[in-house]
Amino acid sequence: MDIFIQSAAHISIQNPLCEDWFENPIPHTEGYNRSIEPDYKPFINPIAARRMGKLIKRAIATSVSAIQSADLEQVDAIITGTGLGCIENTEKFLSAMVNEGEQFLQPTFFMQSTHNTISSQIALHQKCNGYNCTYSHRGTSFESGLSDALQQMLLGRINNALVGGHDEMTPDYYNMLGKIGYWKQGEISEQTLKRSNTKGSFAGETSVALVVGTTHTQHSLCKLRDVDLLYKPSSESLKQAVERMLQQANLHVSDINAVMLGTSGDCDFDETYKRFAQTNFPNTPTLWYKHLFGESFTAAAFSVYAAATCLSKKHVPQHLVYNTPKPLEQPHNILIYNHFQNINHSLILLSQC
């Protein structure tokens, strides 16, 4: 059975709900960046919007946009990956607890302080009574959700699903992560990230919604061939996982036109990506995406979105290219490899329709 990525939408530090980033990406030089907010009025009733935090609004706008682009009225399942959930409201709720001595706690902040609020708010908005699930697995939350959707379709339980990756970065959380070396100091640029030999990257925010389904349509962006999640794999077991994935897809190493990596400019983690590419795809061009969208717990959603867009447009823009041992051909198959702190690793295989 073939599974397709039918549509995708994003709100990020690039121009939202459009593909401007593909031709004219916005360069970012600061360590801390918030998403560019679109006008939410076409997506959310102002009365309903007043009780929603930023992340919920972004999640609903991207979800509605993706469902509309897929020409669907409804989806069979809503699956969300989020590392932190609605952390802004969680902070407000916890701050009120501390400042007010656990008195006068506002119900809205409490309701939105749980991780699964995102998926449930999308379901309420879409009036979707189907399967609803939230994966909160830090750096592999999105991939876990995508894997769930894929498996449920292969088992015939659902025909389509809305899969999202949503995370926001508050100033307080940014500062806390900065204390444990998450962020680079000084000005950021594509070149400083590429040549980096220091720890840390730069922060972005993620809101990506994809519709995946079993039917090929005129809107389909690409095929979702496989998703594999690995826990602390050795180089050898990672190599075996790649071989297994390619074999199951009837592909050879030479059929992979590009490898999309989660390279971020953090020397501790980029080394793993370099080793992965050298070991498994020494002659294949590598791509990256975090220099455009920044780092967050669900940043991997952008890797799928960017690779799917390249396959759909049959073209890879130069700014996505990280390294080219040989000229980049028209992409037919892109393998995506991400890892979170060398602990959780994921492989995702996409092919042209």
Binding site: P46, I47, R50, E100, Q103, F104, Q106, P107, T108, M111
Partner: protein, 86 residues
């Protein structure tokens, strides 16, 4: 009383995040709940109970009393002026 009504309207707009509204947009005598007026719901009621306790030291334990108190901004202001402890 009019001063308190305006103060309450500002607090309601703030706590319920009624973006784009000003105190002048809220009719002091219009129903706050139901299909007319502000068309607030049960979660808004909880927010208003927290507002009364936090800003005016009023604990609203009786749900039936709440219905009368929250009929309109004016009834709310009258209740606040009689029962406020801060």
């Amino acid at each position: 009383m009019e001063e308190l009504i305006t103060e309450l309207k500002k607090e309601i707009i703030d706590v319920l995040n009624l973006e784009g509204m000003t105190p002048d947009d809220i009719d002091s005598d219009a129903p706050m709940f139901g299909d007319e007026g502000l068309a607030l719901d049960s979660i808004d009621a909880l927010e208003l109970i927290v507002l009364l306790e936090k800003n005016y030291g009023i604990k609203l334990a009786n749900a039936a009393a709440g219905k009368e108190v929250f009929k309109s901004v004016r009834t709310m202001a009258e209740y606040v002026s009689k029962n406020r402890t801060k």
